[in-house]
């Protein structure tokens, strides 16, 4: 048997969160999500948490496990010793138990215009967009984001500056900026080159460390900083260049 210490918060009855212990079976192949499901099915049906695919592709089950942002479906009980502490993702308001308020994140994703904005209108008769493997490589890793928000939980700047647009949103903007089919970089710059965009990042690098899909948002953000800086100096020092 193994013990979980889980944060509980009921907005209707609790003034603030408290911790609750559960004893669950220890199985070699169980992940923390299995343990939570065991709790909900057998011990305490009031426990609330998000989950879906159970295979680390949907991004639903992000939580703080022993203080580290992890996917609950990818954190094996056998990785841990002693009591396993399970809390909602850091830096987000707690809705109830392990469920966080995601609205801020969802709004920020939408703000970076995460869709192709072609340079020119291309009629159907002209055929499909063609891309070489090299062109695909330029943006592919940034397209692997599963919106799990672990990076926001890891990023201390997002915790300190709620207006910061955050790693996943900037990596997503970068994914489109790097896509050869896209021509919308100038529009996205209004968001990601703002103060609350890439400039609130201090390159802690925690986001890339916790990302389960190896998107490397930290790298994307630094590249945005450099491009934005070059743009700025070109615009202000050589305004005749268009």
């Amino acid at each position: 048997m193994i013990q979980l210490e889980v944060l509980r918060y009921n907005p209707e009855t609790d003034a603030e969160p408290r911790m609750q212990r559960y004893e669950v079976p220890y199985r070699e192949d169980w992940v923390v999500l299995d343990a939570l499901n065991h709790v909900k099915e057998n011990l305490d049906p009031t426990l609330s948490y998000r989950w879906s695919c159970h295979m680390a592709v949907c991004g639903s089950c992000g939580m703080m496990i022993n203080g580290e942002p992890r996917l609950a479906c990818k954190s094996f009980l056998r990785e841990y010793r002693g009591v396993i502490r399970v809390e909602p993702l850091a830096h987000f308001p707690i809705e109830r138990d392990l469920v966080t308020v995601m609205d801020d994140f969802m709004g920020k994703l939408a703000r970076v215009k995460p869709y192709l904005i072609p340079k020119h209108e291309k009629p159907l008769a002209e055929g499909e967009y063609r891309q070489t493997p090299a062109e695909l490589k330029k943006f592919k890793q940034y397209s692997m984001c599963i919106n799990c928000m672990l990076c926001y939980a890891a990023c201390p700047e997002y915790g300190l500056i709620p207006n910061y647009i955050g790693p996943a949103a900037i990596a997503l903007a970068h994914r489109y900026n790097q896509d050869s089919r896209d021509g919308g970089r100038a529009e996205r710059q209004e968001e990601i080159a703002a103060t609350e965009g890439a400039w609130d990042c201090s390159f802690v690098g925690a986001c890339s460390e916790v990302c389960p899909e190896h998107v490397d948002p930290a790298g994307a953000i630094q590249q945005v900083k450099i491009k934005s800086t070059l743009d700025w100096y070109k615009e202000h020092l050589m305004p005749w260049l268009k």
Partner: protein, 123 residues
């Protein structure tokens, strides 16, 4: 059906987050290197002042350099400067994804350091 009343709970950040995980401690150490690099640069400015005031003043400056406080500062500053350099070179490829750029930086750093030491007459 009854409406559930919402009352999202916001957890405060404080400053103790820097101890939450070794990576945040390492980040703070990296950031603190600025105190030593800035401090050393100010010592350089002070040295320029003494140099401008003549050989006597410069000798006094060299003597101050030999003081225990100076030695301690130099050792710490060197450690922090090296930490700044290695973290900077290790992070450069993320900002500029060019093949071998990290290795090129380390090689350049070795070249610059050896060149400076040579022209300073250290060897």
């Amino acid at each position: 059906m009854a409406e559930v009343s919402r009352r999202p709970y916001v957890r405060e950040m404080g400053w103790r987050w820097i101890f939450r995980h070794p990576r945040y401690v390492r980040y703070m150490l990296r950031e603190f290197s600025c105190l030593f690099i800035g401090g050393y640069t100010l010592i350089m400015v002070w040295g320029l002042k003494e140099l401008a005031q003549g050989p006597g003043a410069w000798q006094a400056f060299l003597e101050w350099l030999r003081s225990p406080a100076s030695v301690a500062f130099h050792v710490l500053a060197l450690g922090f400067a090296l930490y700044h350099s290695s973290t900077w070179f290790n992070l450069t490829p993320k900002a500029l994804p060019i093949p071998y750029i990290s290795g090129a930086h380390y090689a350049g750093w070795a070249a610059v350091s050896l060149a400076v030491l040579y022209f300073a007459g250290v060897f």
